[in-house]
């Protein structure tokens, strides 16, 4: 420490210039970091404040109210929240096994030279804009669902007790199930890419040991890779769930956009994001309807934040 003075005499320019430049630069960096925190806070606070009139008018009942009636000025979050949760969970049920299969294929089964191209293709699937999924869903998936899948499911499962009602109803092609399937296609690449990266963190010596005692590929997967990566795999799944919850454009095209809770998977519905996208342009500034939409946005943000926070905590050692 005592020779700091001496060295600064030897390099006066550096000694004088450095502290200011360093202070400025580290100040900018710190400011940018704090800005990100402020940004998140501002998003939450602004949605909450602008949603406040709706929360005041309807109270906690807003969450379960299933009416959305601009004429009577009664608005409730019940149907969109229900639709958001149901479509997202259904999408996960479809996407997780497929994403797992792709990740397993890409890490253990595929020939090494083939992994790069297939992995890139899967990542490209993640890069396709969501509105394209919406159009593709509307023009390709909806007719297939309406002409083949829904009539087939009604014929085969519609009369089964208990679950039968899920598969009854007019085969319009749109509806909760179609939205869930399009969502599933959208989140498969996210979950698959995360799982692949996570599977690749397993030290090769563990897997080699298992192969060495005669395990098959699947036994290595189920006894070594999955136990080793269980937490992070859950994190990847939650990440996919977070994506599905807030997806807007793709869902808006195919869900049917009706504010009603149906017992059938073929029935129309809506989600928080889709009702915001559709109703917002028809709302007047300062109206209770607009405030209700912003309150819905606040609810969606809270749900997504919780899911994404859990996902991050599970995926924590990401740099390792």
């Amino acid at each position: 420490m005592s020779d700091t003075a001496a060295s600064s005499q030897l390099r006066p320019a550096a000694a004088r210039g450095a502290p200011f430049g360093d202070r400025l630069f580290s100040g900018l960096a710190l400011g940018a970091g704090v800005f990100v925190l402020v940004l998140l806070g501002a998003i939450i606070v602004s949605l909450f404040i602008d949603g406040l009139p709706a929360f005041r008018a309807f109270g906690p009942h807003f969450l379960v109210e299933t009416d959305w009636d601009p004429v009577q000025n009664v608005f409730g979050a019940g149907v969109p929240v229900f639709g958001t949760l149901v479509t997202s969970v259904l999408a996960l049920l479809v996407a997780v096994p497929l994403a797992f299969g792709i990740a397993f294929y890409l890490t253990e089964i595929a020939p090494v030279w083939f992994r790069g191209p297939v992995g890139t293709a899967v990542e490209l699937l993640a890069g396709v804009p969501s509105i394209i999924y919406g159009m593709w869903g509307f023009f390709v998936i909806v007719p297939v669902m309406g002409d083949y899948v829904q009539p087939f499911l009604t014929d085969s499962l519609g009369d089964v007790p208990v679950i039968g009602t899920l598969f009854q109803g007019a085969p319009f092609g749109t509806g909760i199930l179609t939205a869930a399937l399009v969502l599933a296609v959208m989140i498969i690449p996210f979950i698959a890419a995360t799982m692949r990266d996570v599977f690749n963190t397993v030290p090769p010596v563990f897997k080699e040991s298992a192969y060495g005692v005669g395990c098959t590929t699947w036994e290595v997967m189920s006894n070594i890779v999955i136990p080793y990566t269980r937490t992070s795999v859950m994190g990847g799944i939650m990440l996919g769930l977070g994506r599905a919850l807030g997806e807007t454009m793709a869902v808006t095209f195919v869900i049917g956009n009706t504010n009603r809770i149906t017992t059938s998977l073929f029935g129309p519905g809506n989600t928080i994001a889709s009702i915001i996208a559709l109703e917002f342009p028809e709302s007047q500034a300062g109206s209770l309807k607009l405030s209700s939409l912003l309150a819905l946005g606040f609810i969606l943000f809270v749900i997504s934040f919780i899911v994404l926070a859990i996902s991050r905590l599970l995926l924590r050692p990401r740099s390792a």
């Binding site: 390099r11 630069f25 990100v36 998140l40 804009p129 159009m135 917002f280």
Partner: protein, 297 residues
């Protein structure tokens, strides 16, 4: 899983050759079954990508002609194009990226160079990661409440800001990851020559991480170029030619959204042509970003 566990434990001590053989066959059969299912899942994934691309080409190429690039959006039946939407998208993506990139770069620098293990740094990293996956429609609502509602109207700049909010966390993530990869010896060598820390970062670390950072920016551009939801309530869309950032501004995704749901065949064709343009633009950016990144790994 319990079945395979039993299989492993039992296969060792099985002395009876027939029993051991049948167990071994069962294990191999299960392995083949799972392998087949995984191959099927991958084929399905690739088929979905192929189906999307094929649909786009099949329906998009028909509507694609010179008029799309030279004429602005017009009422149905008057042979309109997408010029204002294309230019609007370029402007908003460019300005949004220009706003978001410096902020993201500084946040990434803060996380990698100044706050590797600090509590504040961990909080910033966490929040940035959450923002990375936050629903983009909420970003649109947020910008509506701070820029559109108080200032009395939809505007191109509000759209740019909404896109910038989405750019920031993407750039943060890649910048931080890339700076973390730079060997400490490189920094030590520069510090030993008497360079102050900010110069080490700007002249040594940024330069070494340039490809990685550029990749992050390209991926961010690819992401926001296709975003629709954040623009619905900010730049709104504009059927007329306008380059003013204080007026509502057209964009390709919003125009596609309006046209695809319309009842006019020529608008739907234009929507498909626009969808083809934007998807191939975005996917090309993705591929370029990956090719740029590759030499660094």
């Amino acid at each position: 899983m319990s079945a395979t566990n039993a299989g492993i434990h039992a296969s060792g001590p099985a002395r009876d050759g027939a029993v051991a053989g049948s167990m071994s066959r069962r294990r191999k059969r299960l392995d083949r079954l799972v392998t087949a299912l995984c191959v099927a899942a991958t084929v399905l994934g690739l088929a979905l990508l192929a189906s999307i691309l094929f649909t786009l080409i099949w329906r998009g190429v028909g509507g694609l002609n010179l008029n799309v690039f030279t004429s602005v959006t017009l009422p149905p039946g008057s042979n309109g194009g997408l010029l204002n939407a294309i230019v609007g998208s370029l402007v908003q993506t460019l300005v949004g990226t220009l706003i978001g990139t410096p902020i993201g770069l500084m946040v990434g620098t803060y996380l990698a160079e100044y706050a590797r293990n600090s509590a504040l740094g961990n909080a910033v990293r966490f929040v940035s990661d959450v923002l990375l996956s936050a629903p983009s429609i909420l970003v649109g609502l947020f910008v509506y409440t701070i820029l559109v509602d108080p200032f009395g109207g939809f505007s191109g700049i509000a759209g740019c800001v909404a896109l910038a909010v989405i750019v920031v966390p993407i750039v943060v993530r890649t910048t931080e990851d890339m700076l973390q990869l730079i060997p400490i010896e490189l920094r030590e060598a520069a510090v030993a020559l008497g360079a102050p820390k900010w110069r080490v970062i700007v002249l040594i670390c940024y330069r070494a991480a340039l490809f990685g950072i550029a990749t992050g920016v390209l991926l961010a551009v690819a992401r926001v170029a296709g975003e629709t939801a954040p623009l619905l309530f900010t730049s709104l869309g504009n059927l007329n030619w306008s380059l003013s950032l204080t007026q509502p501004m057209a964009s390709l995704p919003v125009t596609i959204y309006q046209y695809a749901g319309s009842a006019y065949d020529d608008w739907v064709d234009l929507a498909w042509a626009g969808a083809l343009l934007i998807t191939f633009g975005v996917l090309t950016l993705n591929i370029v970003a990956r090719v740029v990144l590759r030499p660094r790994r």
